[in-house]
Point group: D2
Chain length 444, copies 4
């Protein structure tokens, strides 16, 4: 994306602040020039607006320019976005000369005082630019979506990673846990929020409004979400909970035939679906906070609850089995691949011990390159301090679950008194806390 | 502040997460040790909690530890705070070795990619620490107050400035204009907010609830404030507006005897008091945004309004007169210092042309060391793009106004169509836009 | 329904107030007796509770007893309800002896003063009973449903009419227009309200959530409803509005393919569906108030609107045609009954003038026994002061509309300046205001 | 108030509906005539508007006419109001001819069916008129104030009592307990509501905002109020509560020096002030419902509470003592009238047993003409089912309390398990439940 010329910049500022004009309208200096400025292609307008935002413009006018910049961005196609990301990376990068100069001063006398100018030199100007873009109304949501575009563009081009680091850095501040607000989602929630819940549910997709209602209206169901003031009624993450009397070993009864016990009689809260919503917030972790707060809320409201447990998928189990990392895996994978056991109780009963034994091994033994558990869901819950409580098979006969995990599901247990110690052991040396049922499966 | 030992850290974490324990209580490993940990002096607990926050603790447990840290900070006296600031500056500073290593790599091949690790090395760990402290409930407000403490400590010790830079950097992100919410303050506002408005009003202090009511309840009065989601019902800045038919030339009628015209008939909105509230937010500018948004709101609601103007103090006028920077100043200052003209109409009439002539010179000519206008209120409004419209004398006979400005007040005009150009000219070369009345006073 | 005995009454009160017990539980005097009281059949408990409510019970305990009475009512089947209505009519009727005595006194000296005791004697005790039942939480809604039951029971038994008069009398007070709150229904309305809108829409039934959304979310659509504080989130009546540039002559484009013009450009507000919701509120009129308030709200929000018009069904047109009241009717009815013109443009074009001519006659000439317009929708809108503007054929090809009105629809025009005069003329001598198009159709 | 003529009526309707005109303005038929109509004296306009309201006007136009009527009423002075009340009583009275005719039919065949027309004939048209006035925005509050005016006018003229019966009858329906909403009043309540609480508190008047704050902000204080949807933010009744560890025996510590225990440790809820607010709602009882609901709310929130007790004045004790109904009274009254015991501990100690003994007699023995307790506060609480628990002397040294009750205060105990039985015994035969301390005082 080429850098804009000065005359155009001036015209653009006049066009924007003349149009947007606080309160009253009045003719801008040269209507013709400003009209032309606004008619230029979106990439040019965007580049120019960014230039202006980094310049000597008044704080208040900045809001209008930031709005124009984001509007221009919204007109870009993939190529245009890619051009803009390149511009951000290259043109709004830190200046090596300034960095070298500041480093020299720091190097000569390292101190908190000499660090400040070095920090200022090292912080890429695009961070400031993003902060200024964020002054426009509704900008935060648009910047989150901009990063989602960036994540897509990055798949083919690692050179954009430094730019992503800037987004991640800013979002960690903006989406600080202290700014989040937890809310219960129920049948009196506005429809505009509910349809988002429906659209974002990807663990156990919903079939429509009646399905949605079944998950949040009955007395034994709860849905909670985090919201951020700058992204309005957009849920950032939500968790679906069923209140039961036992730790469930399959998903179907929860999804399809809820025999609602009185919530007061439930002893177990089952977290059976957790969904992040905005792709652009990748890496900004909310899930642990949400689970903790939901546990606290439910414990306070329903003193009879004694157990907080998940019913989670094992999305990498099928690939691991097939990989042959465990010698018995491929043969078992073949038998599971044959349709039939789903409707053949005897065959399923024969398979069950072996599947669960290997599932237990998979959860406790399979590691990724960093040495963490291979299963991403396991990484999340164990990293939160939960224990791998029990493997359940067959537990989910939906197509996706069969393909990715042969129908396996796992209960992770959140035992409040043990969470911190288990978390620390997991982080320190990878120790995985296991429940008695899972330990038993391991011995098979 | 000395750094804490490991055993104490472990005990402290257990004490905190054992106490706070999600949902249910259960006995921590060694009650005695943890009790002792919580009984240690506040500085020790604070230092230990910070250490823990930077360590391998679970995200969720972090909230509890952050809460403890802020609670311990609240127990500190000035010396304790000073010790904590030193600790932040020195112990949570960036590591020169890491910086040098990252710089070497960058220096060898400067690029956005090599900049990322350098940025990470240069960002002081205390920024991360402050972000983690900010996960506790209500933390943002406490961190703002912590910076207010820091600003006081800095008065005698410039070595704390780097630490302040970190606060300023974080607050600029957290208090981004996009996160602020403007609200009208009126007689149906909760009393808990109103008493804060009363307490924070320092331009024209209020005498109590009846005075407050006179400023926000009548149809010709408005008060607007900015709020931030993380600081709840704490107004961050507020502006008081009177709707009139003329540009006022003195404050008393506005404060004391409002003959309310119907708001619909008003042609002029007078901003007669703007107050920032939290000392810890120094340097985070809200005023320009607030004024712009209030102008937009009033213009939309009351189409008859044609003029947006301030009635502002001139807090440095007396000092400037006395300084002799203008040769006629000291003599005039002496005549003004003699009590009497306040009640002597003839004398006041004699003084008026001279005072206003010098006031006009003061506003347009007096500069501080940076070359900006000497008067801080002028700097603010001119920097926002307003014009210095008229000087008014005598306009405020309250004691403070007499002492600091000999009773002078200034109207700054916010002419929407002219704001941006005036702002740019002011920033570019210090050009001060003046109104016809002020220009006339200059020629006297 | 037999009247309950005293011992049972005492036991019942103890059972109820012992169970419900303010704040704390404590054993009631004789647990066995009270348990038995609560185990009696619902009709007995209901009769007993009513007896107690009319007796010497404390105001606060009344709430608990009223709650029990309504709970017992909810258990009744049709026969049980019928029994209860008989009880209300006969047992809680006014006392002839008291009436005669009070009348004698009044008759001797008619005055406002002697009227008071007569009024008290004449007011049936069941009105007091209903008012006392209404102290229970949620009672108002339950009493409205009770009257809906009564209306059903009345179909076969005119002897219940006096009882209905009491309900109507009370509801007129309780649902006074001053207590209603108009709210806009849109996509941010709670789902629990939206599903009621969907269920209650009977003029043009909705096919599901997407259909609902099409009627309230686009910029050119509006839905408004009245709510009453005592019936919570239950809409009492709602009206659906489309904002258009022309007076529409058929319903399909409005229901199915909304090409949304910007609401700001619309010149016409079309009220295309008005629905009362609670059968038990029959005769309590809200529609006129709602239409008036919606007109006022839209006119204030969208100054470009110049026309407020309905697109309404003509539900009795088919029956009137067939009746032969107009000699040409039966022949035309026969031709319309033959399927075919719906898909035969030429035939429809041939039929159109004749259908519209007879439709115009039907609207302006056909009367019911009371001399009012035969068409109930015409009665409503003309009674509100609207004009019969235009007949449109074919305008609605849905099955119900074909059956009842051969697909005819009518525009009634609400011309604000003319409403009052038209209303008065209509009430005074039945004068029907007509629009030019309808007048033209009359001359055919 | 003379009845208006027809031409004037027509002009008035045109003036009102032409002015108010739904949505758009358009010239009314004869501007001159309508202008004149609106310029007529308020009594004429009011009488005319009432006439119109009872006539053939459209439901929607009625709202505008009702509004005009209430506006005209607001212009009346005491004489004008009196004239209007006479008009209501005489002109909008029931018609004896219709009554006689309806009675004859009823008398011939008394039944629920013949009762309906009799009821309609007997209900004074002014009830319908008041219901129609109530359709105007904000009308309910204005009608409540109208009745307050009526109550004043009635002091000198019993002939208005029948009119008052109509108001009372309607208000009992409109202010049905089912329509009331209880809300906690605290420091986050809008100032506009708080100032009403301050103004209406007459039991222990407040000295200003700080005093108000002391009564509702500390953790050991609560204020609750009832609101009605049609009277908006006007509290109808409110109760002030202190949470303590003992049953208090004097008011000063509660009002002046609250040493707030944590609310959680309190065992006793003390209702120390109950205030009705709107004079026009006289006879519509809310207090019993409010107390019951507050007890329920507090019991649920603070399980440690075991005791719900009042600290109440005895406003008629001084008059009773002086009356000599008890032979020892006058002498004691004389000793109490001598200033001095307030500051003379020994004298107060000597007086205490005798005062308390007579106070106990006063509460349990003194009756009014109807046989109910002479003390109005006792009537209220005993009628609610409370017990007279203890007499406390000296308990309130404020001037009013000394004058009316020699400083006596009474604790009434609300024992949930006993309320209903005590209420019934009190209503049945006047039995007064007493606490052990009061019983002991009786024996002295």
């Amino acid at each position: 994306m080429p850098r804009p010329k000065l005359a155009f910049l001036t015209d653009l500022v006049q066009a924007i602040t003349g149009t947007e004009r606080i309160g009253r309208k009045s003719a801008p200096p040269d209507e013709n020039a400003t009209r032309k400025a606004l008619a230029r292609p979106a990439p040019e307008r965007l580049a120019a607006a960014c230039e202006v935002l980094m310049g000597r413009i008044g704080d208040a006018a900045r809001v209008a320019v930031a709005e124009q910049a984001l509007a221009a961005y919204a007109e870009l196609d993939a190529t245009g976005k890619r051009g803009f990301f390149d511009l951000l990376r290259d043109h709004f990068d830190a200046d090596p000369t300034l960095i070298r100069r500041a480093f020299a001063a720091y190097d000569a006398a390292p101190s908190a005082a000499t660090l400040v100018p070095l920090f200022d030199a090292v912080e890429p100007p695009r961070q400031t630019l993003l902060r200024r873009l964020n002054t426009a109304p509704g900008a935060t949501r648009k910047l989150v979506d901009m990063r989602a575009d960036l994540l897509i563009a990055m798949r083919n081009d690692a050179s954009l990673r430094p730019l992503d680091a800037d987004f991640a850095h800013l979002f960690a501040s903006w989406f600080n846990r202290g700014f989040l607000r937890m809310e219960r989602i129920d049948w009196s929630t506005p429809a505009s929020v509910l349809e988002k819940i429906m659209a974002y549910e990807s663990v156990h997709p919903m079939q429509g409004w009646e399905d949605l209602r079944r998950r949040l209206d009955p007395a034994d169901r709860r849905v909670y979400a985090f919201f951020h003031p700058a992204t309005g009624d957009e849920p950032l993450i939500f968790v679906e909970v069923a209140l039961t009397r036992d730790t469930p070993d399959r998903i179907a009864p929860i999804l399809t035939a809820p025999v609602a016990p009185e919530a007061e009689e439930a002893t177990t809260a089952v977290f059976y679906s957790i969904n992040n919503t905005l792709a652009g917030l990748k890496g900004v972790s909310f899930g642990n906070f949400l689970i903790k707060q939901v546990v606290a809320e439910l414990a306070a409201e329903l003193p009879a609850l004694r157990r907080f447990v998940t019913l989670s998928p094992a999305p990498d189990f099928a690939a691991w089995l097939a990989s042959g990392e465990d010698a018995r895996g491929p043969a078992l994978a073949k038998r599971l691949a044959v349709d039939g056991w789903q409707n053949d109780t005897a065959e399923a009963a024969r398979l069950k011990p072996e599947v669960e034994a290997l599932a237990a091994r998979y959860l406790t033994g399979a590691r990724n390159r960093s040495g963490a558990p291979r299963d991403p869901v396991a990484r999340f819950h164990l990293g939160n301090g939960a224990a791998a409580w029990r493997v359940n098979w067959p537990a989910d006969l939906s197509e996706g679950a069969l393909t990715r995990g042969h129908g396996l599901m796992v209960n992770y247990l959140y035992e409040p008194a043990a969470i911190e110690a288990q978390h620390e052991a997991f982080v320190r040396d990878g120790t995985i806390a296991t429940g008695a049922p899972l330990a038993a499966a391991l011995t098979r």
